[in-house]
């Protein structure tokens, strides 16, 4: 699915990723854990194609295509999804309209006819109920005056509606209370299947209690320093980043 090989990235001439390699196969869930400033968010932005990140070396293949050659919207339509740590507020654009436009963009890209209004409404109702989202929220402007928890739920709603092949969750657990964390995690688990993959970026092991990863990686100073299974996350919780990164 995703093959990152020796990726080097800088922003404003400052090197953030210093030769990061990671391989994610179909159906796998990988967790990426690391301290502040280790390059977690940079990795997610580079994969999604955000401007201003300078790739200095290495390669990224996504479904056997060169991901770095694609535009941001091309990557999304090819099946990459990034759930943002801080989702953008867009005044004047209704949430449900945004969702429908995004879904139709993907369908158009795949030469499928546009979703009709009724079909979309049905799907939206079902998926938003699963995430315990108030229908009124979908009529409001996108993320405007949403609480932290609502914003994250909205990201996961987009994820489940767009049904990507690879979803990157960038600190989706930050700012969530315990109930919201559970609901959001359940939403992610429902979206999981043998055909898609997840990269879950987090500081804390708690999220991984809900979303059980197949692999856990520790990132420090722009490189993956240790990889293992779920037990690595538990070890990390006990010993802290500093010790683990040195080991």
């Amino acid at each position: 699915m995703l093959n990152i090989n020796n990726l080097k990235v800088s922003i404003d001439e400052k090197e953030i990723l210093k030769g990061l390699s990671l391989k994610i196969n179909k159906g796998e869930v990988h967790a990426l854990m690391g301290p502040n400033g280790s390059g977690k968010s940079t990795l997610s932005y580079v994969l999604s194609g955000k401007e201003k990140y300078q790739v200095n070396g290495g390669s990224v293949d996504f479904k056997d295509n060169n991901l770095l050659d694609m535009d941001v919207d091309e990557r999304a339509n090819n099946g990459l999804f990034l759930a943002f740590q801080y989702p953008m507020e867009i005044p004047g654009v209704q949430t449900s309209f945004f969702l429908r436009t995004a879904m139709n963009a993907k369908r158009k890209f795949n030469n499928k006819p546009e979703l009709d209004a009724l079909e979309f409404a049905k799907e939206l109702k079902k998926k938003s109920q699963e995430l315990n989202i108030n229908p009124d929220m979908l009529k409001r402007d996108l993320n405007v005056n949403y609480s932290g928890g609502e914003k994250k739920k909205q990201e996961i709603l987009q994820l489940s509606m767009l049904d990507p092949d690879l979803a990157i969750l960038d600190e989706t657990d930050s700012g969530l209370d315990i109930d919201a964390l559970r609901i959001v995690s359940e939403g992610v688990n429902k979206a999981r299947n043998s055909e898609n993959s997840f990269l879950v970026i987090t500081h804390y092991q708690r999220l991984l209690n809900y979303i059980k990863p197949d692999f856990v990686h520790i990132i420090a100073d722009g490189r993956i320093v240790k990889s293992g299974d779920y037990s690595l996350a538990l070890e990390l919780e006990e010993q802290g980043y500093e010790k683990m990164a040195q080991a």
């Binding site: 941001v72 919207d73 943002f84 989702p87 867009i90 654009v93 436009t101 963009a105 767009l162």
Partner: protein, 369 residues
């Protein structure tokens, strides 16, 4: 004093001569000596290119409504009453001159019309001056269209007398115009409500001036937007709070591209007896390229000491982070820009209350954006 003599006196006055020569004949758009026209300079516009690019879009709006003004009463001469100017704006003699130039006034009694929506297409009239009276407290909706290419280029003057407790909603649309200068004057009596929405698109040279004269307990709402223009789009407003307890709210949004210039200049004036005035003004511009320009100038002139007045002004580009968010969901930059442009002016469209007026506005917006 009789009217003829009064007109003659004004015509002969030196001040009037000055304005006739310097503003009307030489084109007020090109004169920057008066503060209110400071930004309305057109020297930098290549008119030949701009005129070629103007495209006529037939929106069939007129077919949807009856032209109910066919049988309106026309007065051949203005009366002294019509020569009374309630504004001391420095350029009011221009308006006066336009009236004198063609001293015929169309007078409409809006109370006689029972339709849900009344429509007036200015291009149907050769006359330049219009006076509307409305006194009903049931809300009426009026559409004013200023749209034909190459139609009358002389300044027009539209005066509204809104009587006590009367309630009116107006949609003003200017599109496909090469050249247009219109003065709107609203005289609001006690407890009257006016909700004015202005939509301006695909124009080369346009200036609208909105003068509001408020008595007590009045409410005035002005929402304006302009987009897809080719030359200079210029809006000036002067809201005069003369008596206590009135509120005015003005929002103006411009989307500027292709080297066009948009100007907004708005003044809220509060007389010393107009206590408890609530005034709000916001102008925002969205610049889509590096060659376009926007000049926004809010002005407050307050002589009362117990009022609430605020104003704000912003000029910005499309937020790259917004665009990135759209892109990251598979929406192309072109489509995202289109959606963000519509989102930018949504607040103005939302201020329209009547459903038919809303539909027409949507039609205009989707034709151009």
């Amino acid at each position: 004093m009789d009217v003829e003599k009064y007109i003659q006196n004004i015509k002969n006055s030196k001040l009037n001569q000055y304005f006739q020569n310097n503003l009307l004949e030489l084109n007020p758009f090109r004169n920057h000596k008066i503060e209110n026209y400071k930004y309305a300079q057109l020297n930098k516009i290549d008119y030949n290119i701009a005129h070629k690019n103007i495209h006529s879009i037939d929106l069939n709006i007129k077919d949807n409504f009856h032209d109910i003004f066919k049988n309106a009463k026309t007065m051949e001469h203005v009366t002294l009453d019509h020569m009374q100017w309630t504004f001391n704006a420095p350029d009011s003699p221009i308006r006066l001159s336009s009236l004198i130039k063609d001293p015929v006034v169309h007078s409409f009694d809006l109370n006689n019309f029972n339709e849900e929506v009344c429509i007036i297409d200015l291009s149907n009239y050769l006359e330049l001056n219009f006076i509307f009276d409305y006194s009903n407290n049931e809300k009426m909706s009026l559409i004013i269209i200023d749209s034909e290419i190459n139609s009358n280029k002389s300044p027009r003057y539209l005066k509204f007398n809104i009587h006590e407790k009367a309630n009116i909603e107006i949609l003003q649309m200017s599109y496909n115009k090469e050249n247009s200068l219109i003065f709107y004057e609203f005289n609001q009596n006690d407890s009257s409500n006016v909700n004015l929405t202005a939509l301006q698109a695909n124009n080369v040279q346009l200036r609208n001036e909105f003068y509001f004269n408020l008595a007590s307990h009045c409410s005035t709402k002005i929402s304006g937007t302009n987009f897809c223009n080719l030359g200079v789009n210029d809006n000036y407003s002067f809201i005069q709070h003369n008596k206590p307890d009135s509120s005015s709210k003005e929002v103006f949004k411009s989307i500027v591209d292709h080297g066009a210039i948009t100007n907004f200049q708005g003044k809220i004036y509060v007389d010393k007896i107009a206590q408890k005035t609530d005034g709000y003004q916001m102008s925002r511009s969205l610049l889509l390229d590096d060659i376009s320009k926007s000049n926004n100038k809010p002005e407050l002139e307050i002589y009362a000491d117990d009022v609430k007045c605020s104003h704000g002004s912003t000029i910005s580009k499309i937020d790259q982070d917004h665009l990135y968010y759209f892109n990251s969901r598979g929406i192309s930059s072109d489509l995202a820009t289109k959606i963000l442009k519509k989102a930018f002016i949504q607040e103005v469209l939302d201020s329209i209350e009547n459903v038919s007026l809303k539909q027409i506005s949507d039609k205009i917006v989707s034709s151009f954006l």
